[in-house]
């Protein structure tokens, strides 16, 4: 590899307090085979332009902070290698379907609200005393939800989902997968409560099964699968409602 090789990153810039509209700024970065897009952005921030603003933390696909649009695709920039784009340029933008706060940083408030809405914690009618020990779970019971618990809240699925972009009532892939994760947990007793939220309005029904959420998920969570399972669960509950009216939980 030629040490003098470079690559061009075209980066979305927008400072709402000074810019009337967003623009793209090109930066020459050294090409290094081991570098990911995040390394290049950090290099720009450290060596060229300290005003460039982006989120990042772990650099190893665990924290879910560095999601951006890389050449139009939602990606964790810590997992997008320069060598996969070399020698062509790379265009970096903030995740679509979110409001931009500054440069590559998007507003996560709406997403955080949606996560909270599905009550993503174990709900119990009866709470055992700690002296009784833990709630036991078999490997088969764990397998029911484990995949859906791997989400790192990187929001790539929201950027990939065409419904999340135009339907505010839609809870979105990650939140629905998370709700489903607790509904499938054998220790949980809050399914009815959670389904009241998930089945209202367009919360889950907005999904038209495009499936892109599952395609872009860096942790193989399969939110589209979770949503389909949750819909099937909802349909069962709907028909059960006629056989056993108003039976909540018990």
């Amino acid at each position: 590899m030629d040490a003098k090789d470079t690559m061009t990153l075209e980066i979305f810039r927008y400072h709402p307090e000074t810019d009337s509209e967003p623009r793209f700024q090109p930066y020459e970065v050294p090409y290094n085979e081991d570098w990911v897009v995040l390394d290049a952005i950090n290099w720009i921030k450290d060596h060229v332009d300290g005003s460039l603003t982006h989120r990042w933390s772990c650099r190893m696909g665990v924290c879910g902070s560095c999601g951006m649009m890389v050449n139009g695709e939602p990606k964790l920039t810590c997992a997008a290698f320069l060598k996969d784009y070399y020698p062509f340029g790379i265009k970096v933008e903030p995740l679509v379907n979110f409001a931009v706060e500054r440069d590559l940083v998007v507003d996560m408030d709406g997403f955080m609200d949606k996560l909270q809405e599905v009550k993503p914690y174990i709900i119990r009618d009866d709470v055992n005393d700690t002296s009784e020990g833990e709630y036991r779970q078999s490997p088969a019971q764990l397998a029911q939800y484990k995949q859906y618990s791997m989400c790192i809240n990187c929001m790539l699925c929201y950027a990939a989902c065409p419904v999340a972009g135009h339907e505010d009532e839609f809870l979105g892939p990650a939140a629905l997968a998370l709700g489903h994760r607790y509904n499938k947990d054998s220790r949980d007793q809050g399914q009815a409560e959670r389904l009241d939220v998930m089945l209202a309005g367009e919360a889950i029904w907005g999904c038209t099964f495009v499936g892109e959420c599952t395609v872009v998920c860096p942790k193989h969570v399969d939110p589209a699968g979770a949503i389909q399972q949750a819909k099937a669960m909802a349909a069962q509950e709907f028909f059960k409602g006629f056989v056993m009216p108003k039976g909540t939980g018990a």
Binding site: D107, D109, G110, D113, K114, Q116, E117, P162, V163, H166, E167, D168, E169, F170, L171, L195, D196, L199, A200, G201, E202, A203, W205, T208, K231, A232, A234, A235, E237, F238, F239
Partner: protein, 130 residues
């Protein structure tokens, strides 16, 4: 929908579970029917029955028509047709919503599922006279 206060936002959703579970269940069942049986019907009635020697084909078609005249077959056919039509209506409704008619999602039920119902009644009438 950013929340400045504590509790989560509701996204402006109407409280209470939506009746969409019913339509989705019918859509889902219709999807299975449309995917499994409709292509088979097209192949059988459109290609296999009329294939080959016309005299043999006519006899074959007559046998098939006789089988369709049996009422359990009629009932099964009606089920396949009705569910496939609801599947189609639901997909059209959601496509219209995606094309910007989301706020009319309730109103769209009338032509979409109404159309499916009309098609089902028509199919039932045709099956009745076979």
């Amino acid at each position: 929908m950013s929340a400045d206060g504590r509790g989560p936002a509701t996204g402006g959703r109407a409280a209470g579970r939506s009746d969409e579970a019913l339509w989705w269940a019918l859509f889902s069942a219709g999807g299975v029917m449309a995917a499994l049986f409709v292509p088979a019907f097209v192949i059988v009635t459109g290609f296999l029955l009329p294939a080959g020697d016309p005299a043999v084909a006519a006899e074959r078609t007559a046998q098939f028509a006789a089988a369709v005249g049996w009422w359990p077959v009629k009932l099964a056919l009606l089920g396949v047709l009705a569910l496939s039509l609801v599947h189609c209506g639901h997909r059209i409704r959601h496509t219209m919503m995606d094309l910007g008619m989301r706020r009319y999602s309730g109103l769209l039920k009338v032509p979409c599922y109404g159309g499916a119902l009309a098609g089902t009644i028509w199919a039932a009438m045709l099956l009745w006279v076979i």
